[in-house]
Symmetry: C3
Subunit: 344 residues, 3 copies
């Protein structure tokens, strides 16, 4: 993603704008732009480090640092009390991976290569795991919307329980991958070549950059939303995932363009799985530690959208072949949901 | 469907009944009966014309004229302000194709031939597209039921947006079929043999007949419903699809009886796709032009029923084989939904 | 399940406790424990009898007597007016089979044998039938929650209609199995060897025992729930299925441990099918005969949980292979639902 390096120019511009007291919309736009290349750099540095280690350490590095940018932005949001934003960004990451990234992959790949085939086996296992994870993640919401009127205090407890369970399932999935001698996090092929010290340096610098830009973004957010007439919710669903996570996973689109659909699907579906089983529970526990307890109760529309996206991905995975028309339909569903969330 | 010709006798009888001022129930029943053979004749004439053209023109003819009877009835309904009836007829067509037609096909075919197999490939692609289309079509309803209390004005806008998107997806599916050298509308084999002028004459005469009978039906509808204690909703779900569309697609049952399950599934699933991506958006735009703007907000029970029917069809398509027991279950679900809609 | 014989000791202990006027919690616990081996004995005696008959009589014996324990407990509940408990026990049996039994099977089998494969064909047919059955069973609830405010009297009628329909579908599935020369109830291999008279004697004695213990359990239930702070609902979802039905079906886990996944899936999915198509409608009609009419309206959370469990089982069946990680996820979903139902 060398093209994204140009966007690094937004880092000093965002700092300058904040220092000069520019309008919050300008600061928001610049810090969001700046986060895209910084998140990509963390990803690349992690890949470089992971490629020098064994599968266990490399997988753990990828899983934790690969989501670092998103986690840092979300933690800044939690500290600022923007819990709806953070929860929406979890939904948005999952929708972004299963609809936007997968849709673009199918469209680009299918347009170039016609009908694309892939091994149903691994795809089906990952899809089943994704659906099970989304169902587990949806239980506190179901509980809250149907029952909790009589037990509001139980929602937070149940969210913590589900979060603990999801971390346990994540741990089990690592154990499973080790027993089966499968990589449990996808190593995307890296094109750059850095020395160990260069990689570590890039990692540290980019992380510092993400921390700084997240703070700018979070503080500019509320006044900017007022000025633009947008909701916390919409920004969480659409904007945060785009800057924090999805940009990196556009690698999936590149893989599809090279007709490597197995790898492409694995990135899109595997990332959603990591968001549900690793990122979401970490945020629940971190929110407790930060004194801003966040539950796992999602808006009904978020819940339905996530279940739909999971079911769609599962049908496509069980199908065993894709075409560009399915890609346009995934993009259309993503676009329509974006418009619906605009009004929430 | 030569047997249906007998029903043409209902055309003069309906006109006579209306002229003599017979009760609305009699006029409703006769005009409904008359529409069955007229719709079938439009379908046959279209097939005849389509068989003389290339795949593009033939496909377009089939897609537009093949749904002509349904569109004409729906437009008469919109002009008379019966928007619930028209929306219910969209739901009813989809349920009729995916549950009634498919159920009868599986029952008749499976009873004769035992377990029937078909190519999972094309069936799975069509099923995935159907589910994606139903999800897209369901978004304004989801939006309306969960959010729109604060933005009622947004529902109509969103319905128009979704309708435009669906037409665009339909256009893309035509483009896809042309690129893949696949027929994008199913040509069912025709048994009659007409000259070009005979076919055109039948087409014009049957269309005029459908227009006239639709007017009789729509005007007799409200007093007849009062007399019978039925709702607009029930008639839209069950009666209109039976006379306007589903009867024609009983060809699917015939194909199943001849053990051509690929063709049978393609008709049942493909027709639902055409209703969702072509008929529904045309009606939304036509309703705007007729000054009776119709949104795409369906009753929760309609929504759930359509999603269920789509999921069932997808599971059957991914399964790769069918038996008559599944057929009876599809019919049972259709029957139970019919009873439920009776009370809406 | 010879190990369960030890639990027969709970039979005299429960009677003693009830006679001595012990606390209701003690009576409840002892009678519940006593039901486990008694239900298992009815199952074993039925298998013995079924193995001496042809497939039709044997299948009918298995289907009716195999669910005898559950039916007897449920009838005692209906007589005592505990309708929520009985309906919850239907949900709980289905969830127990599709999540707990299947989850344990996948975990134990997959841990021992790695990835386990099975014939997708029969599994997919059964999964499709399960989903169709659950949808049919869910229609009165959907109806009740979305429409019935205006027609409360229609809910009971509709429940009776659906129950009749389900019995008809069950009859058709028997006919289907006979025509296809397939067993319509699974004969699990029996390890014990009894004479005909021994088998009949065990059947009669165990049935008497189940009747007696059910009465003790039902009468101790309400005071015990007060003492423990549990709901009728929770006991119905978790406890009743465990003592009445699921324990027997742990045979499915044993089959999975022996790498016979086809048989294991057939037991877990087939049992759910029998609960939906045979046990539930029998209870509806029996409740009417007992003057305590029970409808088929389930709590929204029950409905969603059953649909989820059905969809999960279908995805696993269509997938064609399983691993222990999927097993842990099924168990996690079952556990989380258990916690949610605790608060209903």
């Amino acid at each position: 993603m060398t093209w994204s390096r140009v966007l690094l120019l937004a880092v000093p511009l965002a700092m300058l704008a904040a220092a000069l007291g520019a309008g919050p919309v300008v600061v928001l736009a610049l810090s969001a732009l700046a986060l895209i290349p910084l998140a990509a750099l963390i990803g690349e540095a992690t890949e470089e480090l992971a490629s020098r280690t064994g599968p266990l350490v490399g997988g753990l590095l990828n899983a934790t640092l690969g989501n670092a940018a998103e986690l840092i932005i979300a933690l800044a949001g939690i500290r600022a009390g923007l819990l709806d934003l953070v929860k929406a960004s979890i939904t948005g990451s999952i929708l972004g991976n299963l609809l936007l990234v997968l849709g673009l992959s199918l469209l680009v790949g299918g347009w170039r290569h016609g009908i694309q085939r892939f091994s149903r086996q691994r795809a089906a296992v990952m899809a089943t795991m994704t659906i099970l994870s989304l169902i587990a993640m949806g239980i506190p919401s179901l509980f809250s919307h149907t029952i909790a009127v009589h037990h509001p205090e139980a929602v937070e407890t149940m969210s913590l329980g589900v979060a603990g369970l999801m971390l346990a399932l994540y741990g089990l999935s690592v154990l499973y991958a080790l027993r089966a001698h499968e990589p449990f996090a996808v190593h995307t092929p890296t094109h750059t070549r850095w020395s160990l010290y260069q990689a570590l340096g890039v990692l540290v610098a980019a992380t510092i950059g993400v921390v700084g830009m997240s703070e700018l973004l979070v503080h500019a957010l509320e006044p900017a939303l007022h000025a633009l007439g947008l909701t916390e919710f919409f920004v969480g669903i659409i904007l945060i995932p785009l800057v924090g996570n999805v940009a990196e996973h556009l690698v999936a689109v590149q893989m599809a363009a090279e007709n490597q659909m197995d790898l492409s699907l694995e990135i899109a579906v595997g990332s959603s799985l990591q968001i549900a089983l690793l990122v979401a529970p970490i945020l629940v526990f971190a929110s407790l530690a930060l004194g801003q307890p966040m539950d796992l109760v999602f808006h009904p529309l978020e819940l339905v959208a996530m279940m739909m996206a999971g079911a769609i991905a599962a049908f496509i995975a069980l199908d065993g072949e894709t075409n560009w028309l399915e890609g346009t339909q995934l993009l259309a569903v993503w676009g329509m949901l974006g418009i619906a969330f605009f009004f929430v």
